[in-house]
């Protein structure tokens, strides 16, 4: 299985772990992730304005590149995934955006949303299969009680992201079961951690992050996992000392697949 792989800005710098572990695990699972040469930062936030075209172009380039290669486009960072999937949806559904973006880009053939954007977790669920993942686990995380943190960007808006039930997701719980651990369900798993506000209004971000971590702790978690560098930062740096630790899901996956030490 070969995929185009869009790492995004943060995975190249502050979230190298998310990226490195993700690649190692993919390799172990027999998946080839090909990083395009010239990808550009997606901007980290989906430009909701319908007249915002320039800010959508970097995503369109990555999408068009994957189309040329005839590959699905895999993302790992929740924010990149959100931006790419929504821009892709615009290119498919919104005639004006499609027309204007193509006018700017002047591609060999106009891009019309043909590429299939999938998150690494979707790849594990739909392409690898959690059953097969389970078989590949060498260090089952048996004693761990893990609280998955979905946040907002993976799930919403549900109609566009088509990732999981936005109010009752289970993909990360299934993932946790596949690596042998016990998932912990808690109410704030799909409520926002306030990450986007960390620069603008740190207090608000702390309040939200505190509520999320608190909820996971109350539910008895000893570890939280996430797919988003911003959430990870927020749930780590903006909560009281000694709170339940948070990791990228790829890190615990690497541990389970026995490839963590290779880093």
């Amino acid at each position: 299985m070969k995929y185009s792989y869009y790492p995004g800005c943060t995975l190249k710098t502050k979230a190298k772990d998310l990226d490195r572990y993700g690649r190692l695990c993919a390799e172990k699972l027999g998946i080839i992730l090909e990083e395009p040469d010239n990808w550009q930062c997606c901007g980290g936030v989906y430009p909701q304005g319908e007249d915002e075209i320039a800010t959508k172009l970097s995503s369109v380039r990555a999408l068009a590149d994957a189309k040329e290669k005839g590959q699905d486009l895999v993302t790992l960072c929740s924010a990149c995934h959100h931006v790419l999937k929504r821009v892709n949806h615009d290119m498919k559904q919104n005639e004006t955006i499609r027309l204007r973006a193509n006018n700017y880009l002047k591609l060999d053939s106009p891009y019309q949303g043909e590429t299939n954007v999938i998150h690494y977790l979707e790849m594990l669920r739909d392409k690898v299969g959690f059953d097969n993942l389970k078989k590949a686990v060498v260090n089952p995380q048996t004693d761990r009680k893990i609280a998955p943190y979905y946040g907002c960007l993976l799930l919403r808006p549900g109609k566009v992201m088509a990732f999981d039930d936005p109010e009752d997701p289970r993909i990360m719980e299934d993932f946790i079961r596949a690596i042998g651990a016990t998932p912990v369900k808690y109410s704030q798993r799909n409520e926002c951690c306030g990450g986007y506000l960390t620069l603008e209004n740190k207090k608000a971000a702390q309040k939200r992050a505190g509520a999320v971590v608190d909820s996971a702790e109350q539910a008895g978690a000893d570890l939280m996992i996430t797919a988003c560098p911003l959430c990870l930062y927020n749930l780590d740096a903006n909560v009281p000392e000694g709170s339940v630790p948070v990791q990228y899901f790829t890190e615990i996956l690497a541990e389970a697949l026995g490839v963590k030490e290779e880093v």
Binding site: P47, C152, L197, P229
Partner: protein, 130 residues
């Protein structure tokens, strides 16, 4: 610098693609808003004020910078009104005006810490400045 350009409800409709008259004022968006306490204008009022054309008040509100962009309001809205898009559209009409960048690039270094991901800076600049 003060806001100079007049913005109308029609501009917000054009930018957001959202018809605020579809809102039935059920308040589920506000009920869902995780940052309600910080929002001087909660999402359901945002929708009705757009419909009433009270855009200037919205442009002067704090809510446009305090929205978490978590889409809980849009997700749970039974009328598919998408308040998050309305809020973003109003914010855009502000920061697109000269001298209205809410976040200035030179203010960033002091806010940085070692672990802060790029994404936080990139997205904040996207959201709050042009």
């Amino acid at each position: 610098m003060s806001l100079t350009n007049q913005v109308t409800a029609a501009d917000i409709l054009r930018i957001s693609g959202v018809d605020a008259s579809r809102c039935m004022q059920c308040g589920k968006c506000s009920g869902a808003c995780p940052n309600y306490d910080e929002m001087d204008i909660p999402p359901h009022r945002f929708a009705i004020m757009v419909r009433q054309g009270r855009i200037t008040e919205l442009m002067e509100s704090q809510a446009i910078y305090r929205c978490l962009s978590c889409f809980a309001c849009s997700q749970r809205c039974p009328r598919n009104v998408e308040p998050a898009k309305l809020i973003e559209a109003v914010r855009l009409t502000v920061i697109r005006q000269k001298g209205q960048n809410h976040m200035k690039a030179d203010s960033i270094p002091e806010k940085l810490d070692e672990k802060l991901p790029q994404q936080a800076i990139v997205s904040a600049m996207r959201k709050y400045s042009k």
